[in-house]
């Protein structure tokens, strides 16, 4: 398994937006990402605590609970999707970088911008479809199939928010890449 972060092998974040009208937006996304990481950490701790509580309550109090799996799923799904923009901010979503070794630095910069534009197109599409899914679930008051039956719009909203922020993060990287091309 590729535990790059644990091994201290973080990829470089690449260029940042140097200035201009988008600089405040880039700083806002950075600020938001920092808070999302804290919230995501709490969500993972909560999921661990919920599953532990489930084992303890069943073993010691003979009390079965029916909500632990879904509550843990909601916490983890939320943490994962919401943090996806943060991971993208330092280009932590791994890819096959073989081609980069054969291209000149200039060609590599062009490749990176093209790849970022394609990534943005996919993330924007996924974000759009996530919001329509959320809207449907909210309007139709959809719930999960379990006996607990929590509303489905909650995880869908977390997914839609996370992927939208990811699309925004990639868009900022596209702009940063283009600024760098125009620069000296």
């Amino acid at each position: 398994m590729t535990h790059r972060a644990e091994a201290g092998l973080e990829p470089e974040g690449g260029p940042r937006i140097a200035g201009g009208p988008l600089a405040p937006l880039a700083r806002a996304v950075e600020f938001l990402n920092a808070w999302i990481v804290r919230a995501g950490a709490l969500a993972l701790l909560a999921a661990s605590a919920i599953l532990t509580y489930s084992v303890v309550s069943r073993y010691f109090f003979k009390a079965a609970i029916d909500w632990q799996d879904e509550a843990a799923v909601f916490c983890i799904v939320g943490a994962v999707f919401a943090s996806s923009a943060y991971v993208q901010s330092y280009r932590g979503h791994i890819g096959i970088e073989l081609l980069a070794a054969f291209l000149s630095p200039r060609a590599n910069r062009v490749r990176q911008v093209v790849v970022d534009i394609a990534s943005f197109a996919f993330c924007a599409f996924f974000a759009w479809k996530s919001w329509t899914l959320w809207h449907e679930a909210y309007v139709d008051k959809q719930i999960t199939n379990s006996t607990w039956g929590p509303p489905l719009w909650i995880p869908y909203a977390l997914m839609a928010f996370g992927i939208s922020l990811l699309a925004l993060q990639v868009a900022l990287q596209v702009v940063a890449g283009l600024q760098r091309r125009r620069g000296p």
Binding site: S48, I76, S84
Partner: protein
Amino acid sequence: MSVLAVGLLYGIATLVVMFTGMPIAFALGSVAVVFMAFFMPSASLDTVTQNVYEEMASITLLSIPLFILKGAAIGRSRAGRDLYAALHAWMSRVPGGLGIANVFACALFAAMAGSSPATCSAIGQAGIPEMRMRGYSPGFAAGIIAAGGTLGILLPPSITMILYSVAAEVSLGRLFLAGIGPGLLLVFLFAAYAVWRFRVEHRAARAAFAAKGTHSAYLDETVYTLREKVEMLPRVLPFVILLIGVMVALYGGLATPSETAGLGAVLALILIATIYAMWRPSDLQPIMTATLRESTMLMLIIGMSLLYSYVMSYLHISQSAAMWIVGLHLSKWLLLGAILGLVMVLGFFLPPVSIILMTAPIILPPLKAAGFDLIWFGILMTIVMEMGLIHPPVGLNIFVIRNIAPDIPLRDVVWGVMPFVALMFLAIFILCIAPGIATWLPEVVIK
């Protein structure tokens, strides 16, 4: 367009997009969505996010971040160094004991942390300098740690196995148990090689001393008193108890695999708080951040790999490819060899999670039709993917070693791991001759 043409196009498009350097998750998702747009009913595009969510919202899959949390908690504490120091002291009287201590420390740490690079990093930081100080050649020292780290995805709880159990629809409990025998086999092979290599290098050092008076650290001996050895135990025992406790909870019927992940994470955090006083937010923040980074990257790849497989199945690509392989009427072992070869080549470029989810629908039906046990095959596939962690061009563990011992030339590291790759091939061969090494334990424990 025929299924063959669509299938070929799907494969080529995936390769082209991936080799542009696009992140694997986005590349798989993009190819799947484009093929949905062109070859599937237009309504399918409306359900793309629902598909991904429903595939991902399984507590078995979502236990992966919690296993990563457990590994990060142990990996970022001093547990690895303490475990290594204790094993080193207890094995000091055995010839080649230092190498064996490193292999054992890697295996135990891997079983606790469940991560190959984290194991390499934690044990290697203490083990590589110690081995080099004692005269071990740099390549040999690096090879032991790089290969020992790979035991992380074979010994339970292994994230790779969680995915395989989902993809192959086999029992996760059985799969975890099936990994123990082959894991111990590899530990034995690695340790035996370490002793043999020690003897060779030790003999050369003695000869050099006799001929030219060249002194080598190989000839120095360190003796630990019983008191020193016993004093090292209290810091290690709680982690060994955690390892055993989690396994008892899982197989004693106290907890499901996902509950075990949560329980293990909580226990690991409690242990590092009590033993190493790591309870302050500043101590926990790096652990939680590393967990989130790793989990998010992996879970997005998993989600998009599942979407990719769904499209492949909807377009009958996987079924047709599987039928084509069956139709070749290859002999049983040739089929197995060809499939393991394919997995190995994919391992040059892709992380195990993608390999499993992308290839399972194609390779598993022919293997099942040929009469292979899918749990046994899961273990073989895992060992082959372990090799991908230590051989070029990707070989993540090699990069970890380069990170912790930058003065060892890459050439030495690569040559140092090669004997261990050969030992992994030997383990695969032994498992083919004696499949019971993998299948016996699950059959005994789970009736």
